[in-house]
Amino acid sequence: MLLSVENLQVSYDKIKALHGVNFDIDEGEIVTIIGANGAGKSTTLRAISRMVPVDEGTRMTFQDKDLLKYAADKVVSQLGISHVPEGRRLFGNLTVLENLKLATFARKDRENIVKDIERVFAIFPRLDERKTQKAGTLSGGEQQMLAIGRAFMSGRKIMLLDEPSMGLAPLLMLNVFEALKEINKEGTTILLVEQNARMALKFAGRGYVLESGNLVLEGPSEELLENPEVKKAYLGG
């Protein structure tokens, strides 16, 4: 087991956002968590990358290491967990290339960095064309590519993706998911959080359904796609 989350609880100003969430991810999997706005999907990812404090009783392990012992930057640099945050959050004042390089700040394997940047440009040729441009000038689709590329550079054991489809035209969305499939084939496990449940379930092998801070359903994607409740609530009937 790669990532194990047990009894994950998070509160914002004493209001519980997650009420004890449990799930596991194996190496090489693509797993999705679907749910409505405000269900706690982003909070789950933020808890794993240690960007929000968790409540007493939470246990999270990554490759049998206690995640709670790592600070947010060490989760990335020492465990190889990367996080593509909601809204991409690129450094708009840095160039495309600088955004990619910054993500390698703490990497020890300096000799592989050039190769990895080339790999990112091979997956997203558009970024190669725009590498000296400021990230703030990119289109929405290019920004999402860069956000994924940046995560690819920072840590590659698992990639946490928060709503990568947001604001993208359908064709662009397909491109992004194709690229993610490729990254997954090369050995990166993927945990995807999406409001676009249909897209997410088609892409992932397994899924969880999160409702108001509780996981209410889980199973292989095909089953969830056929589940009447999921159909009604998340797939538009």
């Binding site: 933020r46 990358s49 240690r50 960007m51 929000v52 600070a71 947010a72 930057d73 060490k74 990335v76 640099s77 990367s82 996080h83 945050p85 909601e86 959050r89 450094f91 708009g92 004042n93 840095l94 600088e98 390089k101 910054l102 993500a103 390698t104 700040f105 703490a106 990497r107 940046r150 920072s154 840590g155």
Partner: protein
């Protein structure tokens, strides 16, 4: 014309001090969204550390009976004092600001003021109430160029200041630490997701800013060799004004605004009675801010404080 050029030279030297101090304000503000109001006092402590190092080197030299040329003592003083003062900056960051990173900004501002007062009292306590005079390390040579009097010290002060500003500019543009600082200025919340420790970058920024303040302190001591524990207050405030005038997080802006303040002050004093100098000079600054509320190079900015 000679009169004008004479004042221009003076203004360049005066502006160097403001600019060097303003850079520290500006860097810290841009990456942490806080004003380090102890920065003026760090400049003051830097000047005293410079005084201590220079005196120490001279004593050592005379004890072991070898002669160190004055310029070498000055160079060593600058480098050693930068090193020592950077630790003061890192200490202030660790003890004063890091615990307050999530606290309201007003708490951090008050902390800065209090740290400043503590530094003043410590120096007062350690050095006594009498002003100390900075050792004269190099002899003044005055050149008369077409009626404009330029001293070797003025040239040196401006040249050293400009070199450090250029070095800082290159550091921020070209190195990965500089890149991390720029990223942090844009959106500091997501910086850890890049595997970059916010604490490391914050510590480094305080170290650099304090080292530059020490340079300003020593150069000030070279030009006006009298130090007192309260010298950092007014310099600190004026450098703060320069940092604001330059625009949020702009190194270029803080530099230019520092020099501009020097020019405004000197030229106002050239025309008006010197008692009115600051009144008129800072009315001009106020007027500039009315038309450019974000400063020269600043942009409207809303901080995202959460992921």
């Amino acid at each position: 014309m000679a009169f004008f050029l004479q004042n221009l030279v003076n203004a360049l030297q005066w502006g160097s001090f403001y600019a060097l101090i303003a850079l520290g304000y500006s860097m810290v503000y841009s990456i942490l969204m806080l004003f380090n109001f102890a920065h003026g006092d760090i400049f003051m402590v830097g000047a005293y550390i410079g005084f201590g190092v220079a005196t120490g080197l001279m004593v050592l030299a005379s004890l072991w009976a070898f002669t160190l040329p004055g310029w070498l003592i000055l160079v060593l003083t600058i480098l050693l004092s930068m090193f020592l003062t950077s630790f003061l900056g890192m200490f202030v960051e660790r003890v004063g600001y890091r615990p307050l990173r999530e606290a309201p900004r007003a708490s951090a501002a008050i902390t800065g003021l209090m740290i400043g007062i503590i530094l003043e009292i410590l120096i007062l306590w350690g050095m006594g109430t009498q002003r100390v005079s900075f050792p004269s390390l190099i002899d003044t040579v005055t050149y008369n160029i077409g009626g404009v009097f330029i001293t070797n010290k003025k040239i040196m002060i401006v040249a050293i200041s400009l070199s450090f500003m250029l070095a800082l500019h290159l550091f921020i543009k070209k190195t990965r630490w500089g890149m991390a600082m720029r990223a942090m200025a844009f959106d500091y919340v997501v910086v850890p997701l890049m595997g970059v420790s916010i604490n490391h970058i914050a510590r480094m920024t305080f170290a650099i800013g304090s080292a530059l303040a020490a340079v300003a302190g020593i150069l000030f001591g070279v030009a006006y060799p009298v130090l007192d524990p309260y010298m950092g207050i007014i310099f600190g405030w004026k450098a703060f004004v320069a940092a604001i005038l330059g625009g949020r997080g702009s190194i270029m802006g803080a530099t230019l605004a520092g020099f501009l303040l020097g020019f405004i002050e000197i030229f106002v004093a050239m025309i008006f009675p010197s008692t009115l100098r600051d009144l008129i000079a800072y009315s001009i600054v106020l007027l500039i801010l009315v038309f450019r509320p974000y400063g020269f190079f600043g942009e409207p900015y809303s901080a995202k404080l959460r992921l």
